[in-house]
Symmetry: C2
Subunit: 341 residues, 2 copies
DNA sequence: TTGTAAGCGTTATCAA
DNA sequence: TTGATAACGCTTACAA
């Protein structure tokens, strides 16, 4: 079923059908009615490829996600879901490309084959080959996260440095003098993963400002790793009374380690950080934390991308998200830690 | 940059470039070399829309996921990741459509607009309007999960009935006489979600076979719901000594409720079920459970779909997955439950 | 108010 | 071994 068939059945020309569909030219009420009826009966819808070829746009956005090998974090999943939803709201489809490094077949196909009108990139590195590639090809794109030099591109990012800094100040205000940062995995940080670096920078700065003693450790994104990490922290650094983290997936493990050590939160130990709301609320007691609005961020990324597509030469826009730290129940005044069980 | 440009630069005709690219006609070594060089220098790749229009296929698969409003479960996320990865391996792209009920704009656009060569459908209901629609349009499709009457379609599904049955038998063998099933959410079951119904059927059958007393309850896919559900179960049914579940997301909550009640697993209480491996391993003690191989299933779904696309008239294929129950440490001999704390 | 026809970038048929 | 050309289904400038 194509537009010619519809035209024939309605007894008009193909262009009239096209115009009736797009509304870019007036069509008499009677003709329009007939056409619409035929279309409804036939269940016709324009062929996307033909339309894309003619119009030079695909009505499709590309979403580059981390390769499937690594499990997506809840936050990343939130980005994906909200991007897809926001795109659907404006009748755009989303093409997924699981691409990590450069020279990825899927990535190249999506970009060079003109399969999409624009691209949203997730899990950005400070130096990111994919960003360079997109700039080279002139494809409109927006990143969730940002590179080391993000001035000339549009992005949406969480202000990890600022937020972790605020966490540290919050803990310092409560009297904590010895605190730790539990970061994302060693590999991720080594690969130049922005949030890891910026959280560390924010931590280091704030610790220096408040003249605290601060220890930063990496931790894989897993329950078991979180547990091991916290156990070691408690064992090796008895003076530490509080932790800030950006590693939500490790949170249940940290909780276990604290439970096992017989430490009550927040009486004996405080914990806070930057995590998706759902993790903060599942913690016990509920975690005082900056809730990353992943759902909103995906929608904003789509918004920025649509603008870049509409006006490629307009000034890039930046959204540095710094949600308030929701005061829940996991931080309290510092007290000497009781000896571990 | 298009094929005409390449032809001009290489001093040949467009068809020769096309044939050099596809290999469907012999091209002299010298000509091919020249063409390949020009293509490499120009970074040319065929326009996907033009190709799709001409060839009548898009080299794209559609993946219909639950609407973004509901958080995807880990298992669903595993499906998505593995589908995308398997598709990428054979150079196919994946278009995401967040569609729940019928008459969904995104769904209709993907199907009727010939945007994809075939569709993979997730979270199937026993009666599913989307399945009916796909059959109506003749679009090749494969479901992950199955309807009430899935004979004439290709699908991959977990044998929830059989597996939950085996869990019950396992518990019965250990001497448990009073057991409960913790199912997925009330809404999901009410909507005719297959796994919920089939797990219940398997539970009921096995309970009858072994002459046990069985109680089935629904529980939302959340930590807090799992906790509330288990607390109520423990309070209202003191004789129950074991639980089987297919609700992985509620598992941490169940664990909390058991901990809070001072019940040791498996000494005082046994728990088993059908969940993604990661949840089973994060449980404490590690959960005796059938590990759903989500990663494998997505790849199998792609495999089946490719076959339906290649030979639409061939007999549909079915894959009922029944992984072995991995004996870990969460089930043990029945003992009277100690009084709750 | 409607129709005719060109052209988007490919692939594949027919000729040479 | 290669080239010219039609066709895929659509949108839109130009004509009527």
């Amino acid at each position: 079923m194509n537009i010619g068939e519809i035209a024939r059945l309605a007894g008009v020309s193909r262009s009239t059908v096209s115009y009736a569909l797009s509304g870019r030219r007036t069509v008499s009420a009677e003709t329009r009615r007939r056409i619409e009826q035929v279309i409804a009966e036939a269940g016709y819808r324009p062929n996307a490829a033909a339309r894309a070829l003619k119009e030079g746009r695909t009505r499709t956005l590309g979403l580059v996600i981390p390769p499937a090998s690594r499990r997506l974090t809840d936050m990343q999943l939130g980005f994906v879901a909200s991007v897809v939803e926001a795109a659907a709201r404006v009748d755009l489809d989303v093409l997924l490309s699981p691409s990590g490094g450069d020279h990825d077949r899927s990535f190249e196909r999506v970009i060079t084959g003109q399969r999409v009108d624009g691209v949203i990139l997730m899990e950005i590195r400070l130096e990111d080959a994919r960003v360079a590639r997109l700039q080279q090809t002139g494809t409109p794109f927006v990143t969730i996260g940002r590179t080391a030099h993000p001035e000339h591109m549009s992005w949406v990012d969480v202000d990890y440095a600022g937020l972790i800094g605020r966490c540290v100040h919050h803990l310092a205000d409560l009297g904590h003098r010895h605190i730790a940062l539990i970061n994302r995995s060693q590999e991720l940080v080594a690969a130049g993963y922005g949030p890891g670096h910026r959280a560390l920078a924010g931590f280091t700065d704030a610790v220096a400002q408040r003249d605290l003693s601060g220890l930063a450790v990496c931790c894989a994104d897993e329950t078991t790793a979180g547990q091991a990490c916290m156990e070691q922290l408690l064992a090796d650094h008895p003076q530490i009374t509080a932790v800030a983290t950006i590693n939500e997936a490790a949170l249940p493990g940290m909780q276990r380690a604290l439970d096992d050590a017989g430490l009550a939160v927040p009486r004996d130990f405080s914990i806070t950080g930057v995590v998706a709301q759902h993790w903060a609320e599942d913690f016990r007691p509920p975690l005082t934390a900056a809730d990353v609005p992943a759902h909103d961020m995906g929608a904003r990324a789509v918004e920025l991308l649509l603008q870049r597509i509409a006006e490629p030469t307009s000034a890039p826009r930046h959204l540095l998200i710094a949600p308030p730290i929701a005061l829940r129940a996991s931080t309290g005044p510092s007290a000497a830690r009781p000896a571990g069980r």
